[in-house]
């Protein structure tokens, strides 16, 4: 791990956003992960996304479980709220926090061990409830902290660093997220920030359960020949369905595109996602087709990346529960304890 602090000096031309922050202001302390870890690239992508979206750092809550991936919230958004929870329990803690204060932006960071093994049930239920959050799995296919055993997302037949093959079927988190009703599902790669940063931005803007499966090579234990989550393997087998170009509130398209290759999706809040389609037949609004397509490509040995599914009119947990528009933690005592007259009224309504 690196011991020295990242120098405070920055490029003289470093831009400030409308809040007066530079990108560097969204960083955390220096990473203690292994040099070259894909997770550090994801942290950098989150920093860039939050800077570009001009999010006030104190309005973001970052939550994680246990593992290499779950250490990363220390390395970004140093001025945001953080909660490092029990192994696999990030989704519950995030759900609770979200119910208490719906005004914050929730960013759940987890790994393949944290979400696909010990926390699989938590993962499933947070998605099916539609908690308004960004749920990122930094997926490297191994247990890095315990020296590289296969994790539950490791592909069948993939080889460990010492050459032993994995005999178990992998859990496909993207497939599960689609099936469980997540309203924003994407997959990306830590080595491709051009794809990853806009996806994180779109997910942060999405008012529902947004899931990103981000393949993130473990340089120490899963970047060898025979691995299906190495830099080389992912680059060779990456099949991107689209590239999200930008998020805008303006309707006109200024850049020139081949006809039929651009799709714009207007979101609930009026913002628009505009992306280049690499596969012109792919429809990001069709959940069933997305599942089928992904399975087909996976069977053909490809790794499908990009924005795979988005519901332009998502519903979230607060809507289902009909909670008050004002965050629960902001309600005063007179609202929370309305008195015996109010109780009598409720009781009368139930007679």
């Amino acid at each position: 791990m690196t011991f020295m602090a990242k120098p405070k000096l920055h490029h003289p031309d470093l831009q400030k956003n409308s809040l007066g922050y530079t990108r560097r202001d969204y960083e955390g302390t220096i990473s203690t992960l292994c040099a070259g870890c894909g997770h550090d690239s994801i942290s950098a992508a989150i920093v860039r996304a939050c800077f570009e979206l001009e999010l006030p750092p104190h309005r973001i809550a970052k939550l994680s479980g246990i593992g290499c991936s779950s250490k990363t919230p220390t390395y970004f958004l140093g001025a945001s709220h953080g909660f490092n929870s029990v192994h696999g329990r990030m989704p519950s803690v995030l759900t609770g926090a979200n119910l208490a204060n719906r005004d914050l932006i929730y960013l759940g960071v987890s790994g393949d061990g944290d979400s696909a093994s010990i926390g699989l049930g938590q993962f499933a239920h947070a998605l099916r409830r539609g908690v308004n959050m960004v749920y990122i799995v930094e997926n490297n296919g191994v247990y890095g902290l315990t020296k590289g055993q296969f994790s539950a997302t490791s592909d069948k037949g993939a080889k460990s660093k010492r050459g032993a093959p994995n005999n178990d079927e992998p859990i496909n988190l993207v497939g599960m997220a689609l099936q469980l009703g997540a309203t924003f599902v994407a997959r990306s790669f830590s080595g491709d920030k051009a794809q990853l940063v806009p996806l994180i931005e779109a997910a942060l803007k999405h008012p529902g359960a947004a899931f990103i499966d981000c393949i993130s090579p473990c340089v120490a234990f899963n970047n060898h020949e025979g691995s299906t989550k190495s830099f080389d393997y992912v680059r060779e087998h990456n099949s991107a369905v689209n590239y999200l170009d930008f998020i805008t509130t303006k309707p006109e398209i200024t850049a020139e595109y081949e006809p039929g290759t651009v799709q714009t999706i207007t979101q609930h809040d009026g913002s628009m996602l505009r992306f280049r389609k690499l596969d012109s037949d792919y429809d990001v609004n069709d959940r069933i087709a997305a599942m089928t397509y992904m399975q087909e490509r996976q069977a053909a040995g490809e790794i499908v990346t990009g924005l795979l599914f988005i519901d332009p009119n998502p519903q979230d947990l607060h809507l289902h529960l009909k909670t008050s528009a004002q965050p629960l933690n902001g309600l005063q005592e007179d609202a929370l304890v309305p008195g015996s007259a109010a109780l009598a009224k409720i009781n009368a309504g139930l007679r």
Binding site: K6, K8, L9, H11, A35, S41, G191
Partner: protein
């Protein structure tokens, strides 16, 4: 863009901005690290090898290194390189045992050096260890040239000159001081194998204005006046003094006048304040001593009463720029301005003068009466005669004289050994990895965020009482360490090995100044616009790799790299390494000291 050729010694040399900007190519970061380590004598010797006069230059250098310093581009002010050099000289202790001493054998060649200033002394320093019989002539009785005669003692104490000139005198050259050379022809006839002319630019420019002749008793040429002050011939000046001119000589004149009885001393310049030739810090030092600098005033007349000077008149002008952005000073039409004064010091420039060089000995002069001198070899058209310092291309600074001296010494040596003078010896370059462990480097890569420290000055009242009392007190050891830590170690280079790179982006993510980009190749001008931080500073190179596995290239903008080594530290494969670049710029055969 072609992949960068890092084998070219100039590539990494240019990254070390200070060293590249220094005419003598002093390895600045190297000696600053030695200062930080408390190895003052070693730091002094590194300097001594390159610039010969560390204690003198540490007080008087024009510091071309400082505007070039990378620190000035990422923070407000450059490292105080010049004053750190003085620290090395102040705290070095006794280094006489490390000096080369007299050579044990002579090579039988005899060289005359005209002038005992910085250029000639540098030639002597470089040639003496090679066994040359050197004869140094100077009209003054003491060696040092303009260093001794023109720089006031309150900026440069006499002991410092004595010490550093003494190191060279101890190497055995024959010093013929107090002997003016009146004929180059006669000198050549004495059978010297080569002659070096380092006689400086000894003539101060005059102002031919009405009243100049009549009031001559109170009108002085700046450099002559400074010399007379230096040698103790002049001890007083009138209470009201006008100094004409905006260069460093004018600053030395006005500050000297303040110490010799001048109470109302002012500097008056034709141009604007910003365009003055004087170094900004010298202007500041003058103003700190209550000397106003009045600008846009063109001198018109010396006013006198039967030969007794009582003032000067000036015409007010303003700067007007034409279409080619050339400046012209145009009278404003306002009435002339009059200032009272008792003495005027004229410091409006210096000129070369070679009345002692016969024009029929095969040594060509150009139409400006300057000798025709080769800019690389410093050889004149008379093959035995070499020039350097102000005598070669007009007035410059001490550090240029030193640089000229080194080159002329190489030429003289090659000439005397029958080698081709035009074939310059190449530099020696060393690149050595600084990695000691996974996260350990043999240089201090933590970046200090301290702002530049100020050198303490003597109390103004005390300083103005005594012209020999040095104003600047120099850094103490603690401040020197803190200032040394501001150095970014630009000589510890970022070396990239494309074959090892797995394109994981770790270096891109960690770089505090966004100088690394992995992208598609393209023409340089276009590539510069689409880097993570656009590279607008065209004076700074891009380090570009050969195509990587994905077909992209790595492009690193050298401009504001902090040399913190985080790219190398976060690189999983060792594709980045931090390597110390040492360039040993060639001097006349056999480097004359160990460093």
């Amino acid at each position: 863009m072609q992949a960068t050729d890092v084998e070219d010694p100039d590539y990494f040399h240019k990254v070390v901005d200070c060293q590249w900007a220094c005419p003598a190519h002093t390895p600045v970061p190297e000696y600053i690290r030695l200062i930080a380590a408390g190895r003052y004598a070693d730091a002094f010797m590194v300097n001594w090898k390159s610039n010969v006069f560390p204690g003198i230059l540490g007080r008087t250098c024009d510091r071309p290194c400082e505007p070039a310093c990378r620190r000035g581009r990422v923070e407000e002010e450059p490292v105080a390189i010049c004053r750190l050099k003085r620290v090395a000289a102040d705290y070095k202790g006794d280094v006489s045992a490390r000096m080369p001493g007299k050579p044990t054998t002579q090579n039988g060649k005899k060289i005359a050096l005209i002038g005992a200033g910085p250029a000639s002394l540098t030639v002597a320093r470089d040639l003496a260890p090679l066994g040359y019989h050197l004869v140094i002539y100077d009209a003054d009785r003491r060696a040092g040239g303009m260093i001794r005669s023109q720089i006031p003692k309150f900026r440069l104490p006499e002991e410092v000159i004595d010490e550093e000139v003494g190191y060279i005198a101890a190497m055995g050259p024959e010093m013929r001081l107090g002997q003016r050379v009146d004929s180059l022809k006669a000198l050549l006839d004495e059978g010297y194998d080569a002659v070096f002319v380092g006689s400086g630019a000894p003539r101060g420019r005059d102002l031919k204005l009405p009243g100049r002749q009549e009031a001559a008793a109170n009108i002085h040429i700046g450099i002559d006046w400074l010399a007379s002050v230096s040698f103790g011939h002049i001890r007083h000046v009138g209470q009201r003094v006008i100094v004409l001119g905006g260069g460093n000589t004018a600053m030395d004149c006005c500050r000297s006048a303040r110490r010799l009885g001048g109470r109302d001393v002012k500097v008056i310049v034709r141009s604007g304040f910003e365009e003055m030739k004087a170094s900004p810090w010298e202007k500041q030092d003058a103003m700190n001593e209550d000397i106003p600098i009045l600008n846009y005033l063109v001198p018109k007349e010396f006013r006198h009463d039967n030969g007794r000077l009582y003032g000067m008149t000036f015409e007010k002008v303003q700067a007007v720029y034409d279409a080619q952005n050339r400046r012209k000073l145009v009278p404003t039409g306002e009435p002339e301005v009059f200032f009272e004064c008792d003495d005027v010091l004229v410091a409006v420039g210096q000129e070369n003068a070679f009345p002692w060089i016969e024009r029929d000995i095969g040594l060509a002069f150009d139409d400006r009466s300057m000798p025709v001198v080769d800019e690389t070899t410093f050889q004149s058209t008379e093959k035995r005669v070499f020039f350097g310092g102000d005598a070669a291309f007009g007035p410059k600074n001490i550090i240029w004289a030193v640089a000229h001296g080194h080159q002329a010494a190489i030429s003289i040596h090659q000439f005397c050994q029958g080698m081709n003078v035009a074939e310059r010896p190449p530099p020696m370059v060393t690149l050595a990895s600084q990695k000691m462990g996974i996260h350990e480097w043999s240089y201090d890569n933590g970046i200090s965020i301290d702002l530049r420290f100020k050198v303490p000055h003597r109390d103004k009242f005390a300083a103005l009482q005594d012209i020999n009392s040095e104003v600047e007190l120099g850094f103490d050891i603690k401040t020197a360490f803190a200032e040394a830590q501001r150095c970014l170690n630009c000589d510890v280079q970022t070396m990239f090995t494309d074959k090892l790179c797995i394109e994981c982006d770790a270096c891109v993510d960690i770089c505090p100044v966004d100088c690394i980009t992995f992208t598609q190749n393209g023409p340089e001008a276009e590539l510069r616009t689409r880097l993570n931080a656009p590279a607008h500073n065209l004076g700074q190179a891009l380090l570009v790799s050969a195509p990587l596995k994905t077909g992209r290239i790595m492009a690193k903008d050298e401009d504001v790299c902090l040399h913190c080594g985080l790219c190398a530290e976060r690189c999983p494969t060792g594709a980045w390494d931090m390597q110390r670049f040492l360039i040993d710029v060639a001097q006349a055969e056999k480097a004359c000291c160990s460093s």
